[in-house]
Symmetry: C2
Subunit: 333 residues, 2 copies
């Protein structure tokens, strides 16, 4: 049976480097880690991780908490996190639980309490969330993606600035009847990113002297709900807006599909702008703000593993975004 010395010899590194590469204890370059993993693989050498874990306290595992999987934003983050962890030799333990749910409660009382992770990445926690204190109580490195939180390193976009930017884009084209579609429906958990985007929309409208022309309509953040909400909003010809600021691309796409069904031409009769940079944005010629969630997942891993190796973490990293103008927005007719 092969030992760590054989692995080190085959990989052309010292025994201690080979050991670090396989157990995650300290810095090894990605290239060296790959070479050691390949050598270990070809020799069939595997460290006994339960024993390694008892000895080192390291689990080589990162826990990722998301409210759900099947939305493009969350799916992209998961893919970004995973493809960054694999070359670093880390396992990803995925926890899917909606805020305030029974599953979310057992996540803290049972799953995370087992502390089988070296660090946590949590997505879309709310600033007033009771989860934050529980998360911090584990004493493990923690990075959040989404809203800015006290005491936790966070990574995210400036949602107020984005709400302002996309509304100003429509104002600059000459629109006045601009509504916001995608406020969180009553009874649903608070979503601070949406609240901030609405605040930005109001600021821009107010800046253009249109405070009394604002209109904010509810929709959950899906294509299907955006479609239904837009169909209701656009049904009355008299009150119809000339432009929609959608809380996210899914709602914007739903609104474009609804407009087409109602025979309303986009963009000549209706402009629509979203936020996200969804995979479907180009197909629907959607003007949107790209926030690249997969890259946010990658960056969260870099920050987290830096913390695991005792480096300092930034309190807040604001991700740069980009307005991509396509054919869903134009001057009103």
């Amino acid at each position: 049976m092969s030992g760590i010395a054989d692995v080190a010899r085959l990989a052309g590194v010292s025994k201690s480097t080979a050991s670090r590469a396989l157990t995650g204890g300290g810095y090894v370059s990605d290239e060296t880690r790959r070479r050691v993993q390949d050598a270990a693989g070809s020799l069939g050498y595997v460290p006994t991780t339960s024993a390694v874990s008892l000895a080192t306290g390291r689990t080589n595992t990162v826990a990722l908490i998301v409210p759900r999987v099947n939305r493009w934003y969350f799916g992209s983050i998961i893919e970004g996190v995973e493809r960054t962890l694999i070359p670093r030799g880390y396992d990803l333990t995925l926890y899917v639980a909606e805020p305030d749910s029974r599953d979310r409660a057992s996540l803290y009382s049972h799953f995370l309490a087992r502390k089988r992770f070296d660090g946590v990445i949590a997505v879309a926690l709310e600033p007033d969330d009771a989860d934050i204190a529980r998360l911090l109580s584990f004493g493990k490195p923690t990075v959040c993606i989404g809203n800015e939180l006290a005491e936790i390193a966070t990574l995210g976009i400036d949602n107020t600035a984005i709400g302002r930017m996309i509304t100003q884009h429509l104002l600059a084209l000459g629109h006045r009847a601009i509504v916001f579609l995608g406020a969180t429906p009553k009874g649903e958990p608070t979503a601070h990113d949406v609240i901030d985007r609405i605040a930005g929309y109001r600021q821009a409208m107010s800046g253009a002297g249109l405070s009394d022309r604002t209109g904010v309509y509810e929709s959950t953040l899906t294509i299907t709900d955006g479609y239904a909400a837009a169909a209701a909003l656009l049904a009355d010809v008299e009150s119809r807006p000339t432009a929609i600021v959608a809380a996210c691309d899914e709602i914007a796409i739903g609104a474009i599909v609804a407009a087409r069904r109602l025979g309303i031409a986009v963009p000549s009769q209706l402009s629509v702008v979203g936020v996200d940079g969804h995979d479907y944005a180009e197909m629907f010629a959607l003007t949107t703000v790209e926030q690249r969630p997969a890259a946010q997942g990658e960056q969260a891993v870099d920050i987290l593993l830096g913390m695991v190796d005792n480096a300092d973490a930034p309190a807040r990293s604001t991700i740069p975004v980009q307005l991509v103008v396509r054919a869903s927005t134009a001057a009103p007719r």
Copy 2:
């Protein structure tokens, strides 16, 4: 500090039941497990899992292998698996790696070789996949979702029967010019589910005496590629089919969007049928075959944890499916 005896007392169960509930060693009802987990949570009691693992060989972890996250089918399976594992007290380790990729290779040589799981669920392995032998070499309970595989318990739908069923639906409406959209493009990895759906399409066409009228076109399984492929296919008025059998709902939705852009009315000028039962099917009034992947994920967990507890597993479970007829299919004009 609280011990297992305190947890058992608070939950009103024996010490051995409390221990089983927290470590996964043997059968405990979901209700009892919840009660014990709640008691442990409120007392702050957590078993030292590295030590538990060394002593029992149990990890209370299931590994899930998927080629990607950000497709509705895979996202739904992940959600179904996760929501079934949480009440059973199991962690989910997620491995995202495309077949034949560098990440897929390191998955077997490094990650899975650490054996930090009690069982594996693998999605969309191909019957000729070299991964299968490596997966079996770990000697852990394994369940696959997707294609039927030798030696591994599999769970899936009958893709040939489905291809036949949706083609026969169009034939019964009076269509003759029916094409299949969604063959795997050259250079992409083989997809047996698609091959089987094409075989079913050909059987139905042949059964109607239309062997010489078949047409099979390439597209990857996404809305954007389905849109582009359909736009090319529908551009020529002369050769345009009256109906499209799409390999999956994403392609069918892309085809509907492309038809609308080209001014082709669905269903009066073009019928489109898909396979999946995608979240968007209703919004696009899509006739489709519902295969409920989240339920497949749930069922895979039930079978797998049965195997972990030494029960026999079925060699192959075929999931019942249902044709849902909506307004994307009608008699040709």
